[in-house]
Symmetry: C2
Subunit: 354 residues, 2 copies
């Protein structure tokens, strides 16, 4: 089957954005803060948003299942405060849960965390647990810069993150490293902040002992890993220069994985030649960062399955890993769900070249 | 000839670092501030630093000439204040001038600017003029984030930069977009901050009308353009989505160029297939970001000429452009110097594959 590890509910009904605006407008004015119950979205509205958007494109592109999370750019951890972030995360995750219940064959939930700048990541544990244990989600998005582009919180390798990592390991779920929007005028959201965060996070991991402390912790770095594959030699070189704990780059590869949200064929083909195939997970971020069609081809920029299908260097086994097996391995709760449904990890569609 | 557009004086005698430390230690204590004349470095010391370092490697790798600038990581615009930055820049640029006078066939100067966070870039014009008009330099390094990793100054497309750009155009010199070290624990200097700045700058350009206002302004984005080539499709897609001034990515290519500081063969080969060859300038950043040898090959990671030599997709004409002609076109004052010396832009070494 074809599993897209990276999708956001970017087609959510606009009433949710109105609710959020009211919430942010009422900061410091609790009497006017909207309640979660003020947001009314019917199942029909959810069906329309999905059937005309993500599901339509999933089907047209030949996908089967998407790991689905709230809109990354709207997580807005830098807006409001810890309390607003908590309520907003619950509301957003609940909506994802409803989509996954309406379309259980096509979407499986990944949660947003109620992060807030300067607030201990441990405070996200309750919502993480709720989403994984009660809502049936299989992973989370973890924002390495809750400040929204000013990078004022500690790196991902700081010990303040450790309680959250302990819980990720206990729950046996990975985190996708994913920033939200940028409020820094130097950084365009999807064009700079997203990519830079991916690159920065990888380098943080490279400098650290994090995976000695957490050998079972797993991160997915989206957007092809930012600049990392293009600069694989730089990272290999730097990995040998870390005097305190020199370790080859390859030591990270038991814990760090990359999706394929790279929006041109040469980039995806290059990635599959540089990054070990066991570390590549199919992802498209559809419908998301780049919504249009390439005027040269008429195809959507973010139809990354097409690029993978066209990679003649990939064997059938490689494709099976990228499109299904790696994601089931990195997200064991997804694998368990699919097995319970009757699809073993051995089942596989023949990849189709177009 | 083989022109490396990107070299820093990383082998400078350590007395310069001691001088700088004293300068920073005396902030707010003018009586103890070192004078420029306190730094004594003999010509023999300079010769030893260059002959055992940059010149040795230039010769071993088959290079002819390097555009040479002060150590990027030591520009430290976030340290001290405008006054210390001015004195430090003058001192650093003077040292580059001496190297270029000692080795006029092998090194041509590129200057550091006396930037400081929150200070108008126009204040750098005097030192820029001095370096170009009096010291014979052919370009400058321009720091898009003088804060050292917190990005608190406006983007490169802000009008506060315009007076400096007017001077760059008047002098007919390009700027290499190059940050200094990072004081933000989230960003490793050469592993994250450098690459992220390259990516962020490109996206700033993509969003702007800068080159409508300055059709003759030219930037070189180092380190292969950060993540840009790997995400060329993302940037092409985003270029069509800018509602205010949609323009294809290609519209930037009269003004924006990329060096080849990408430290593995697949990355360089990929770059030459994605970025138009007219926009690629040979650069190695030698001796710099990654100093070691690849244990797999025994060669230096930053010997980027080897990677280019091995690119079978490049024609002789392509190599001539990347190794010489593009850099002479982007740096017209370099071209004028070489012509005066008797080397026309048509002269060319046959590339050697190894």
């Amino acid at each position: 089957m074809i599993i897209d590890c990276h999708g956001h509910f970017t087609t959510a009904p606009k009433t949710i954005h109105e609710w959020r605006r009211k919430q942010l407008d009422s900061i410091g004015d609790a009497a006017h803060a909207p309640k979660k119950s003020d947001l009314v979205i019917t199942d029909d509205e959810l069906r329309a948003a999905i059937e005309g958007g993500q599901l339509k494109q999933q089907r047209e592109r030949g996908g089967d299942l998407t790991l689905f999370s709230p809109i990354a750019g709207q997580m807005g951890h830098h807006l409001g405060n810890e309390q607003t972030s908590t309520v907003w995360s619950e509301l957003s995750n609940d909506l994802i849960c409803r989509v996954c219940e309406l379309f259980p064959d096509n979407f499986v939930g990944v949660c947003q965390l109620p992060q807030s700048p300067g607030v201990a990541p441990a405070n996200c544990i309750a919502e993480l647990r709720r989403c994984i244990e009660q809502l049936g989600f299989v992973g989370c998005n973890l924002n390495p810069d809750p400040s929204g582009g000013y990078w004022t919180d500690p790196p991902l390798t700081d010990r303040s993150w450790y309680p959250l990592y302990e819980e990720l390991v206990r729950l046996n779920v990975p985190a996708m490293v994913h920033v939200s929007s940028s409020c820094n005028p130097c950084f365009h959201g999807t064009g700079a902040h997203y990519i830079n965060a991916d690159t920065a996070a990888f380098m943080q991991f490279l400098l650290s002992d994090l995976f000695k402390d957490f050998p079972d912790l797993r991160f997915v770095i989206p957007h092809g890993g930012g600049a990392v594959p293009f600069h694989w030699g730089r990272y290999r070189g730097l990995s040998f220069e870390q005097r305190a704990q020199p370790q080859p780059l390859e030591a990270l590869l038991a814990n760090v994985f990359f999706d394929t949200c790279v929006y041109h064929y040469p980039g995806v083909e290059f990635m599959t030649r540089v990054v070990p195939v066991d570390n590549i997970l199919f992802g498209s971020e559809m419908i998301g960062a780049v919504k249009g069609r390439d005027p040269n081809t008429g195809y959507f920029f973010d139809d990354t399955k097409r690029y993978l299908d066209a990679c003649t260097n990939l064997s059938t086994e490689d494709r099976y890993k990228i499109f299904e097996a790696n994601t089931r391995r990195v997200y064991p709760r997804l694998d368990a769900r699919l097995r319970a449904r009757g699809g073993s990890a051995g089942q596989q569609k023949q990849p189709v070249l177009d």
